[in-house]
Symmetry: C2
Subunit: 220 residues, 2 copies
């Protein structure tokens, strides 16, 4: 069996200090020059979520997206996510109007709908957003199919969300779905990370930043 003796590590235990040090390192290492000031919180939280200062070289946005998201949330807009992990990463206390955060992936209607449409459950769940989609904030952290399907449905007449945050990750369709968002012909405001990088943690980080900035940087 293994040995057993007390071990002690020297590490920061104060949550406020951890956040401050962490965001200070991010600011020191990140090249924020290219990015408008109102998106600095998003850039900082994105780097914080993945540990890679260089990742924001792939950040893409439409003019004014930060203000659009903030206004929608202040107005009580719901937040739709493609997967539960994104919903779990959203800091509820940072949402300004107790905005509902909805993920319909595990809705009982979703599997049948996916089979009928011949697509993924993530994409099918988008059809269940319709009633509340007008002015909502959409956060996609995983499924390219959900993002493609949403854009197609909007083209067919689904209501327009206030903004779409596009962060699918991976090798099949992720980069392409984000390029489709960036090129969307509906003038829907967007924030997206080009290429293969992304994921639920980054998607949630982007929403958290647009909802409430980086308040953890302030000494308390």
């Amino acid at each position: 069996m293994s040995g057993r003796a007390p071990v002690r590590y020297d590490y920061e235990k104060d949550p406020a200090a951890i956040y401050r040090q962490s965001f200070a390192i991010v600011r020191a290492e990140a090249d924020l020059e290219r990015i408008p000031a109102e998106l600095h919180p998003a850039a900082i939280r994105l780097i914080h979520a993945c540990g890679m200062p260089g990742v924001i070289a792939d950040l893409a946005w439409s003019d004014g997206v930060a203000a659009k998201v903030a206004a929608a949330l202040r107005g009580g807009a719901p937040v739709f996510t493609d997967v539960r992990m994104v919903a779990e990463g959203i800091i509820a206390s940072r949402l300004p109007a107790q905005n509902p955060v909805r993920c319909l992936l595990n809705d009982p209607r979703t599997p049948d709908l996916a089979a009928r449409l011949g697509t993924t459950r993530s994409a099918a769940a988008v059809d269940l957003w319709r009633e509340e989609l007008a002015g909502a904030v959409v956060v996609i952290g995983n499924a390219p199919t959900a993002l493609f399907h949403l854009l197609e449905r909007i083209g067919e007449g689904f209501p327009q969300p206030a903004a779409i945050l596009g962060f699918p990750v991976g090798f099949v369709g992720a980069a392409e779905s984000k390029e489709a968002l960036i090129a969307n012909p509906f003038a829907i405001p967007y924030l997206a990370l080009r290429g293969r990088h992304g994921g639920s943690a980054m998607a949630a980080a982007a929403l958290n930043a647009l909802a409430g900035g980086v308040p953890e940087e302030a000494p308390r």
Copy 2:
């Protein structure tokens, strides 16, 4: 207002085909030579989770960790996670014994415990694992403090888990906590990603792979 006209994108909609293509790209781009065969599923799922074939250069493991995790799970071991996002990323249907997946971060006892211990809630929640920790599988996807605290508690006499998967992400303590795990004096089996990379998606991916491989690669 925006223009509205149907758009159609050419993208793969079949979930099985998406997985197959995705894992085929990962295998083509990943350098698996250094990694023992029983950890190839973990390496492949880790890359799939973050979109970065190079990430496995930082993978570290103890001999036999895959078999230890598989045996513990077959025996019904619970899975403990530091954050809800990891728990959400674990594919329940892949667990061999309907293993419970527990995250105590939001337990009502955790905030008081954190205040009393002078540490983060993530670390304090570890104290609530004690009764079921013997032989459990621990998956840390976010908090270095949780990993440090767990190792310290084991040194003080907490029961030993069957294995620890260490994937904290970020700039303050993440790399150090994983080095502490790799150097743990208790001979606890581990799988970890050195450096700043990690996160809940990768942590869940590692557990999913050790629990059930990469069955999505098989044509169906």
